[in-house]
Subunit: 666 residues, 3 copies
């Protein structure tokens, strides 16, 4: 399998033309001119595929798939459940979700459904079943995408009842629920499951956390319902996926990915420009869902239409972005969308060809990328990243912190990225994984603000350290149990013994606190922002103090701020600060990296991204990307072939602005 490259294609927008087949032929010719080999179809086509209950019209879709196939373009089919048609919601208005204000959402946008509506489930099953029968064995339908970007919370009475049932199943008894939620607080004791509300606004932390889990459960059930229809009817090589969104926090993505074959996501830079040291983390996040390569199911051809300022990416920047995605494990990239419909909500979104059917300026850049992929052949087939570093990403912890930030500017993801970026700047590959993922293959594991830490997770981390790993625990970690309740002990809770320190007190900071550290940790000029923790080494523990607080609020003055503790064959660094400057954070992370023995993929000048992928046979490939708008030169430690241009590279490599190279050492 070569890299997949293509577009989201909606031939149903053009069925009104006098000769839609001719129109498609012209379009498919242009797709070939861009070297596309895949298209996603069908995603929102419910009202055309099933214009009346049970009456299916698959002709245009069949034709389109076949015509694409003849041009060497494979199809991913989207199930159109994100767009229940007017006749369905008219028949069953209860299908429309209810918003936080208690109103049914309107028909006419998308994802207007209540994910738990039984009449909706039935209708989806009827349509998806028919689609599976019709296209499941089509050799050119290589994959299926379930729905589109799950994103809505519903507050209808049915959802409330299902939430109550979900809780009943989870807790067994109200006594257990009252215990774990500490309901004596503010007289919240429940004596009847029916008393429990869906949370609107701030509420009991236990209830809020369970609500997120209930939403996850609801989407997973809804997704499973479609998977169960597809799996028996599609051919064995076809995979099933869902196109997730960025750092969306509406549900646990690990849980939803469990039933999928392949992870995919929709990557939109939106406003502004590529920040590769941050966006790399989003790719790594998605790669972590199934812990293997993923699809970039949608990405912008130039610009989007839904941000405040919908600027275009610079000429060349999209190519760099696509290669950046591949360097982080993408095996496909599809632009959204091919051509704008004449109407509809996204008339201003970037496309490859305009409404007249003529290539837009951006089309030329797609052609450049197509040429790249063609030049490579199958050399990247099965090539994989081999990170030695893992960063744990906990949805439970993120939800917990979001609902109780304590400092308004404390953002879970930004804090995680504060550790990711210095690693990215050094071209150190990272896995971002669930706190339940296996850790054996890593030398360094970073646990950022994991406020909720289960005994099993703590045990795995402790075993990792005992076995020789370097563990980094950061502020807020280990404070709560799986019910979002405080542990009856101080942070870092079950990892206190491994850390060799406990947190005597945590402080939200209204002004940053000065630090005094060993010189390599920034000298006396460093400051902690937003948060600070007063650490106390455990009696009898030989704890190295890497930094201390200087005079601050009186409570922190002179106290340990960053510590390191040898434990078993490994070490634990506890970081009780949120370093204000990224430069200081670089120093801290560099120190941790040095201590852990982790090596970069390739040393390169500033803003030159370099990633090593390992081929199935063990050979290395290096993807290099110049993210600068000026030329750059990269010293090379080995001789290599630049597979994109077919030239040899040795000594140093010159890269144009936004230039890319794929190097195979020789």
């Amino acid at each position: 399998m070569t890299l997949s490259f293509g577009v989201a294609y909606y031939p149903e927008h053009w069925l009104h033309l006098p000769d839609p087949r001719a129109a498609r032929a012209a379009e498919i010719n242009l797709m070939r001119a861009a070297s596309f080999n895949v298209a996603r179809l069908g995603e929102f086509a419910w009202s055309l595929l099933e214009p009346a209950p049970g009456q299916f019209d698959f002709g245009w879709l069949h034709d389109s798939i076949d015509e694409l196939a003849q041009a060497g373009i494979q199809t991913v089919l989207g199930t159109p459940s994100a767009a229940p048609p007017a006749w369905l919601v008219q028949q069953h208005p209860g299908i429309l979700a209810v918003d936080e204000a208690g109103r049914r959402v309107q028909f006419g946008n998308r994802c207007h459904y209540c994910v738990n509506a039984p009449e909706f489930h039935s209708a989806v099953q009827r349509l998806v079943g028919a689609l599976a029968r019709e296209f499941g064995q089509h050799p050119n339908v290589i994959g299926w995408q379930i729905d589109n970007e799950y994103n809505r919370y519903c507050y209808c009475e049915r959802c409330q009842q299902l939430f109550q049932q979900f809780l009943a199943q989870r807790y067994g008894s109200l006594d257990q629920l009252n215990l774990h939620w500490a309901t004596p607080y503010w007289s919240q004791t429940y004596q009847d499951w029916a008393q429990i509300p869906l949370p609107i606004g701030p509420h009991n932390p236990g209830l809020m956390l369970e609500h997120r889990r209930f939403v996850t459960h609801s989407y997973r059930r809804f997704q499973k319902l479609q998977i169960d229809l597809l799996r028996p009817q599609i051919h064995p090589a076809a995979w099933i996926t869902h196109n997730f969104m960025f750092w969306h926090d509406g549900y646990d993505h690990y849980d939803l990915s469990a039933d999928l074959d392949l992870a995919s996501w929709d990557w939109y830079v939106g406003s502004g420009h590529l920040d590769y040291q941050a966006s790399g983390a989003a790719h790594d996040l998605v790669r972590g869902y199934k812990r293997r390569s993923f699809w970039l199911m949608e990405t912008q051809p130039g610009n989007v239409n839904w941000r405040k300022v919908n600027n275009v990416l610079n000429r060349g920047e999209t190519r760099a972005a696509i290669w950046h995605a591949i360097a982080h494990g993408a095996q496909a990239a599809l632009f959204w969308q091919w051509r704008s419909a004449l109407g509809g909500q996204e008339q201003y979104h970037g496309t490859l060809i305009d409404q007249a059917g003529r290539p837009r300026p951006f089309f030329s850049e797609a052609q450049d990328i197509g040429r790249d992929f063609a030049a490579l052949g199958g050399v990247l087939d099965g090539a994989e990243l081999r990170p030695q570093v893992a960063i744990l990403n906990s949805y439970d912890s993120r939800w917990s912190i979001q609902a109780q930030r304590h400092h308004n500017n404390f953002d879970y993801v930004s804090h995680l990225l504060h550790y990711y970026k210095p690693l990215a700047a050094r071209n150190i590959s990272v896995d971002i994984v669930s706190p339940d993922a296996p850790l054996e293959q890593y030398q360094l594991v970073i646990v950022p603000a994991q406020v909720i830490l289960s005994p099993a997770q703590a045990a795995a981390l402790e075993a990792f350290v005992l076995g020789g790993g370097h563990l980094v625990l950061t502020i807020r970690t280990g404070m709560k149990d799986g019910y979002n309740a405080l542990l009856p002990q101080r942070q870092p809770g079950l990892l206190t013994r491994a850390a060799g320190v406990e947190v005597e007190e945590y402080y939200a900071l209204e002004q940053s606190a000065p630090l005094q550290g060993v010189p390599q940790l920034g000298g006396t000029e460093s400051r902690s922002t937003l948060w600070a923790e007063r650490l106390a080494p455990l009696p009898g523990c030989d704890v190295q103090i890497l930094a201390r607080f200087c005079a601050s609020n009186g409570w922190l003055d002179g106290r340990p701020a960053v510590t390191r503790h040898a434990y078993g064959r490994g070490q634990v660094t506890y970081v009780g600060v949120y370093l204000e400057s990224l430069a200081d954070q670089q120093v801290l992370v560099d120190d941790i990296v040095a201590c852990s023995g982790v090596q970069p993929d390739l040393a390169a000048p500033e803003n030159i991204e370099a990633r090593r992928l390992v081929q199935p046979g063990g050979g290395s490939l290096y993807i290099l990307i110049n993210h600068n708008r000026f030329p750059a030169v990269v010293p090379l430690p080995w001789k290599a072939a630049n597979l994109l241009c077919g030239q040899p590279a040795a000594g140093e490599l010159s890269l144009e602005p936004y230039g890319v190279a794929v190097l195979q050492p020789v």
Copy 2:
């Protein structure tokens, strides 16, 4: 007819006094002291005029009108439909409008009605019919104002059904509607008119545009219902108007003005101070509703009460503002209001006399203006502006852009003013008119961001150019059809051939793009903000490139940005940029003006406004206003008489701060 000058007068606020007639007598004496000759009455008096269903009490209103008449003060009667009384909404709660959140609005403010409620229509007809019978033939009732400042959208089920009926009538079939709205997009296909919602928040562009038209239709129907009652019963000289609001965008003002005799509006500076180069456009806008002189039905006596900061206009500034309105075609000016009621929502609004009935300091400025008007006699009777420049104002385009700004800071009116202000700075008179207005009388027509351009409009513009006119097309023009759907061709759509260029791509800019132009267009320092269009001359067209983009996002670099094309006997300037600095825009507009041969009314120093009005007999009158807070001297090209002071003026004219002169060349 001399200039009308007066106030909004609410004698019904004082009927509780022991001797209301004596109170009115004292007030009317003060009105005379200010040289008032008109008052508007009755506007919100429903609960007093009809204290119970069908029981009318017109006595106090009769008396007031008669007493005013005896003092030489004429009456404009407002129909009080904007204030349906408590007994009516109690009887028919369905009269109350429903807001976007689905709630009935409360009784107790104003305009709380659903414009389509039949019970409301009946009640309005009963009252307005009675008023017409009672006062229609009164010689001193010179005009009628329908309702007050239409402003509300209703989201009740009845409105939804009427919207569906409106669409059925407009489209004939759902097939047509589905076609023009491109409903295959997101499965929006409608199979039943009853499925179509009233849009709340973003929705299908076609539906959103039609909703605005439906609101226009609803208000026009409601207005017509009152006009049809009045017209047969009022004396022939009496006119009918409605007091519109500023740049309000709730409905199409051209459509609503069609059934009126006279355009009028309520001008409030609100916070801050007069910006005459912008406010002139608002006057010109209203003059364009009927393409003749208008009334300033309300204006602030010093300050308002409904802004965040309700500062007073400076001493003298109001007089300058009133003269500014007259210089733009106002033939009347009424202060709102005469005297504050003791209670009610607007206790802090400026008035002429205070609650004790004593003149407030501002009263003296009203007296100054009264003296001005008295000095003029009838010299301004029938005098009119004679602009050679038209700017087209399209409500369709404004609505379309507002709902899809693409760049958050792109504001339709601000963009229009970006062309208006440089003209105002040069004292060049402008008509702001509907895109359907005749264009023969103009030498220069500017079409700012007219995204929706009908074939008839395009044809008229093309004919204008062929006939020798200078046409300016700006960014976003000619992109869509009358259904808010993309045209199946590039901008400027049907005017591409005339323009000699097409738009290869448009870009929302996150940072402004540098330009390189001929020196008179700002040299190399100019920048385009918010928006840029990459222009391509049509093959074989001899197009003059007035400016090009410098290095920017890679897509624009080196491409044409502003072009000029000779076409027929005229020329088309296409402006693919939004110049960041007003100084650059002045250079561009000056160049266009020079090219078009248009002349200013009178050259004058900075912030001195000068407008020429042409008397019915052909004579010219010049109104000069010093908008500075310091004295100024204006060189005069001719000898003249200053009609305000009776002095001759020759060589140069001295103007005090906020000073005004009306000059008649001799």
Copy 3:
């Protein structure tokens, strides 16, 4: 009675432990270690005290009170009506309040009740009656707190009907209501009480004011219902209070305090740090509710959890804050709360001991304060402030201005503090009292922005001046009557004769207006911000012009801005400006103080607070607090004993950062 010191204690959070009694014993030992002598209990414990309708479980509360008593810790019992349990709202959903959007609030937070719900009243009566029977005679239950921080407005239909009944009783007839609300304005005339709405958003000023009074009436009725159950059953020494919130404006605190024995409040600095010159006013406000000493019922142990940034107070700052409260009349201070529950909405709030039961760092500061109090013995018993200055605080006026600010930045409380702070900076004690409070004991009375001024209040102020007092009237004062209607005369209304000036016009300022005053009033550099009034001395009045406006908006130029008028044996200073700089305001207030003959408690360097308290026997005690984070030296005019450390003090006193001294002159 010595100073009371303690915590809010919720033993019900720990009943799930294997041995709750042992847990309490450990906790009570720690309370003793902090020298606590009082705890508040029971406040939110409804669901535990009455787990099912009419089934009471008082055992754990009895035990806790007894165990505390054995440790010398007295109990304040909170009635738990702020937390109606799930079973109650399930049984009677109408108990849940309805918000402005028309939705029932959710169960699960607190104060979710409609204060007027009869089923709620019954349930509260049953529980509070049982509590009174059970604990009313317990010698260690020294006081009762009704509910918790009343704070909600309900918009249910029942409340609307009660509002209509409230109005009917107040006005007698709709004619009177229509008259006083000036309902002819906008056709608001009411012909049926049932037509009157609860105001949502801006509405008729009369209606809006009455609605606030109705809310006050509703809470007072609800509170009285509990008091009437408690009073007959509790022992004579036990008092009844409610814990009010800061400058909360939801109801008239004077009215609600009338039925209470003792005023108390919950003081949270929240974000940032102590600003003693502002917070002193809040203490003085609460002292003014009953015009005697009060309780600090809650205050933060370090930090809160409900602000955007929940920083901790600096080490030592809390001790300074507690002493600051005592210096303003507090006779008790209780930290909220003792220990965090494991769950619930306030897990991150500061506590004395952590969830593990171990003292947090802050505990040491509580011990410091405990030592202070122990050192004093009963020396402060009955000691009271003796202010010579009163500032009037009118809820009617505050509500009126809030709803009609005219200048968005005009805030009633900030304006009041603009007079308070310069007095605080000079260590001049102030009473903040109702406009109906007696004034005989004062030399200086300041009436800030009292827009609503009743005839009786005006008469009392006039008598105060005639008797030799110095009266300060500020902007906006005396404009309206008790119905929020304009007086039919100019400001300051009924006090015009005493002031010797009237306000010709008031102006909201979009830019500040320059002033020219006598040198001691700031020379020519002063400016008035937000507001300015053009004053005119009454004919024949000998009025001293303290300041005039310089050139400004044309209307103010050269007009009097601040005046002083000798009247009877006293004087009236009318301040028609809002001085922009606090330094200028200090000059103005210093001048007023000098003119009035008022003396400071003690002269002290900057940011050193010094207050004199007078013992029952007439002896003086001085509390001195260094609010700086650096040491300070205070010159002393007498020799004294420092009661906190037992050392003599003479000549000068050294104070550490945040240092405190209690001096008894010898």
